[in-house]
């Protein structure tokens, strides 16, 4: 009798996981609009600040996240200085919550505030949406905890010029911009769509430019075009991430589904959510990233792993698609053959191969897709991640990029919770 029950549970898991894959394949994330976060993100109000990773209270936040929050409170005109920002943040007046629980994702500190513009991606069949701020570029930027007059000026320019200009162009396109098609093609042009996004940005620029020219004066188009071009290696990440979020979230709340639906880090903890286990987070301490550092910095300066960008790996791009991107190793370390080996390792913990994202050098094999916590625990092989590295202190920003692996302990906890729910 027990054996029969176990067989039934196994069959239900297999069916649920196949259902999840079908739902993922069917999602078509379209960039449909840009608006202020307070107008579109569910649960966002004038005193809410969202952050990357699993939920965390102010006192436990890492330096870059605290710094980015203090900075964004200046941007929000809630305070007049960074020092006042720290005081307000610690006062309890501001509500903090994680992006993932608001249909949102954000790279690195992932700070999302009410008056920041956000990309709005929508699946036309389900009308589900996902949101992400616009990318500021590299170096001293808010999302890495960087702060200063230049950071504030850039954020204001993004709100006053970049976002409205792109919004007009997106609206002019009528049907929006198909981001999945861009990501799929970018993997054939050397991106892995997490740390290398250059091809994706150029593809986005080629899609949006005719609409920019039809809707905005040439001087402003020039300004916007140059900003995207100068930040080409990273601009498209903030489109790729909500695209991945929309795909991953198609698997949410499927009973008996043992696939990972979210993986995110806040610089203190790393957490995962499982499709069949609701909104519960399973966490471990965030890992350190091994990588290449910008001149003048080393691992002693680094903050532990940070950001929602591992939503890329959840759907089988980023670290799972490194074989598509030999050039990425010049940024995150290792060799081109290492990049292929890392992708091949990820097939062991994934239940299928993508129908949307393929890798030329592997004879157009689909990327590893559908991370099954049962396989992760059995093989003791966790998802591999490539990522940027923030300075551990606020105000400095990005100091490098590299590779890490998710810790196994949170997968152990998730499997135990899964067994408790479905075997009892």
């Amino acid at each position: 009798m027990v054996i029969v029950k176990n067989m039934e549970v196994k069959q239900k898991i297999e069916a649920a996981n196949q259902d999840a894959l079908c739902k993922m394949w069917n999602v078509k994330p379209i960039l449909v609009d840009i608006d202020l976060a307070k107008n579109v993100i569910p649960g966002m109000d004038s005193k809410t600040i969202l952050h990357a990773g699993p939920p965390i209270e102010w006192e436990r936040m890492c330096g870059p996240t605290q710094g980015a929050i203090a900075g964004i409170l200046v941007y929000e005109n809630l305070v007049n200085s960074i020092d006042e920002g720290y005081k307000l943040a610690a006062s309890g007046e501001i509500k903090f919550d994680c992006n993932h629980d608001h249909d949102t994702v954000g790279p690195m500190t992932g700070i999302t505030s009410p008056n920041q513009p956000v990309f709005i991606l929508e699946d036309p069949d389900t009308i589900k949406r996902a949101f992400c701020t616009l990318n500021e570029g590299r170096g001293k930027v808010l999302r890495f905890g960087g702060w200063g007059k230049d950071v504030l000026e850039r954020l204001n320019w993004m709100k006053e010029t970049l976002a409205p200009t792109l919004k007009k162009a997106i609206k002019h396109s009528k049907e929006g911009i198909d981001i999945k098609a861009i990501i799929s093609e970018s993997l054939h042009m050397g991106d892995e769509a997490h740390n290398r996004n250059r091809a994706g940005t150029y593809l986005f620029m080629s899609e949006i430019t005719p609409h920019l020219l039809d809707t905005t004066d040439s001087a402003t188009v020039n300004e916007v075009f140059l900003f995207m071009k100068e930040n080409a290696d990273i601009f498209n990440l903030n489109l790729s991430m909500p695209h991945s979020k929309l795909i991953a979230d198609a698997t949410r709340d499927i009973e008996f589904c043992s696939l990972m639906v979210a993986m995110a880090r806040n610089g203190t903890d790393i957490g995962i959510q499982i499709a069949g286990l609701g909104r519960q987070w399973f966490t471990s301490p965030a890992t350190m990233v091994e990588g290449l550092y910008f001149p003048g910095y080393s691992e002693v300066d680094a903050c532990p792993d940070l950001g929602d960008s591992t939503i890329s790996e959840v759907i089988g791009i980023g670290g799972f698609a490194m074989a598509a991107s030999p050039a990425i190793v010049s940024f995150v370390g290792g060799s081109a053959s290492d990049a292929i080996a890392r992708t091949e390792q990820m097939y062991e913990i994934s239940i299928d191969e993508s129908k949307s994202f393929t890798i030329p050098v592997l004879n157009f094999r689909g990327t590893p897709t559908g991370v099954d916590i049962r396989l992760v625990v059995e093989l003791n092989q966790t998802p591999l991640i490539n990522t940027g590295i923030a300075h551990k202190e606020a105000g400095i920003g990005q100091i490098g990029a590299g590779l890490t692996a998710a810790p196994i302990e949170m997968f152990h906890d998730a499997l135990k919770a899964f067994g408790k729910k479905y075997l009892s």
């Binding site: 196994k10 898991i13 043992s258 059995e378 499997l415 067994g419 075997l423």
Partner: protein
């Protein structure tokens, strides 16, 4: 055994990579197979996997 002593060993190493590296560094023809006990040998997790996988 005579053949082993006369021609030297050929090694298939399953598990600990350092054994493979030691053989390789001494010029012994070796193949490495990555392997570790399922669920790191954790009995509670193995029991769960038996019912779920």
């Amino acid at each position: 055994m005579d053949n082993l002593l006369a021609n030297g060993p050929k090694v298939i190493n399953i598990g600990l990579r350092s054994f493979f590296e030691a053989c390789e560094s001494q010029g012994v023809p070796s193949v490495y197979i990555q392997w570790q006990p399922p669920a790191q040998g954790n009995q509670e997790l193995l029991h769960l996997l038996d019912k779920l996988l």
